[in-house]
Symmetry: C2
Subunit: 227 residues, 2 copies
């Protein structure tokens, strides 16, 4: 958890990113208390930017505040994650619907090459490039929705699933279906067929949902077995 010193950004943003990273990588574990003085000393700043960063983490759902006890890292339960995924599915369906109405021809070309890039990444079998190609693909769709509020909300939700992104990508048995799904989504949007596109994204997200929830169930079982 070394503070990424970037003189341009306000300290609160640096702290925010540092803490978020620490939570998503598991360095700060669920239930762990975030104590302002400790964090301030550890990161070499005062309490003020720490407090402001914690407020942001709260809004993203990564920590929960207990009055007069401060913040602690949020437990991720199957319920909380399925809540997030339900909303995310709805927002993704909205995004593709809007994209079908508003996407430009140039963006369709971009989408096609992003789709191809993803296939290349899969052939490379490198998890990192697969995930970034996946993000790039979906980003084009969101941008094409021309709804900045929607983009902002989806980004927030995505944070919460970040730690599970590797899980569903790791399992190489699903790669081929991921490619198929991306192709279906791309084709549907290129044809501006919103109904088809919504069905395609629905399948895509649902598959991720199943994979993520399976992982959590496994984790929770491990946890109870340990205790």
């Amino acid at each position: 958890m070394e503070p990424n010193i970037d003189a341009l950004l306000p300290l609160r943003d640096v702290v925010f990113k540092t803490l978020r990273q620490a939570i998503l990588t598991g360095e700060l574990k669920p239930g762990e208390r975030l104590m302002e003085i400790h964090l301030a000393e550890k990161l070499g700043v005062s309490r003020t930017p720490i407090r402001e960063a914690i407020r942001q983490l709260e809004l993203e759902g990564l920590v929960i505040m207990v009055p007069r006890r401060g913040a602690q890292v949020a437990h991720i339960t199957e319920k909380s994650m399925s809540d997030v995924l339900e909303v995310r599915l709805a927002l993704d369906e909205l995004a593709v619907k809007l994209a079908c109405e508003r996407i430009t021809d140039e963006e369709i070309s971009l989408l096609r090459s992003a789709c191809a890039d993803f296939e290349d990444a899969v052939s490379s079998a490198d998890i990192r490039s697969i995930t970034s190609a996946d993000v790039a693909f979906h980003d084009i769709i969101f941008k094409a929705s021309r709804n900045s509020r929607l983009i902002q909300m989806v980004n927030n939700l995505a944070e919460q699933m970040y730690r599970y992104r590797f899980e569903y990508i790791k399992d190489d048995s699903g790669w081929q279906s991921l490619i198929t799904e991306h192709r279906m989504i791309t084709d549907a949007i290129a044809m501006r067929d919103s109904q088809l596109a919504e069905r395609a994204i629905h399948v895509h997200i649902k598959n991720q949902e199943n994979s993520i929830l399976r992982t959590i169930r496994r984790e929770e079982k491990d946890l109870t077995r340990k205790q």
Copy 2:
């Protein structure tokens, strides 16, 4: 903008609510700068709770931050509002769908009486009781969705439309159709017919959308005429 002194809440929450109210009622006008010292003196607190409240307002989209210049009240444009309304429609459709699947029989009774309360409020022709009955009605549906994340996100979006709530309620020509729409939604949910319920809420929100956007267009025209 008198601070509502409630000793139980942290000052940042009191300040947050005070400022939000001031923005929504128009006491703080779009573009107006929120200067920490001035607000601190006016509300009789220090800068710290003011800062924390401003961070929250930023997350709700009510103010925008300019680095090194602080916060200013966000301009509400037709585009930003239609972005919000697009997302809100999707989330409302999700909420009624989930409510159809998860609502209990007791909640259906509650919904029916809330629907009746709304009709009573309309006969009373009192704007305040109409709006609160409307909020109560929709709250039951959101609660029945059993998705706390969804509820949180819808609440955030709703803040932004608050200042226009009176506008679409004020116009008494629409009251009868509001009653009809609420009845259709209630009946569809009571039958747990999610497709019917989604169509009903779609119509309901779209009507609000038209009314709100009409109001904004009128405002923007007034504004340009003045300048």
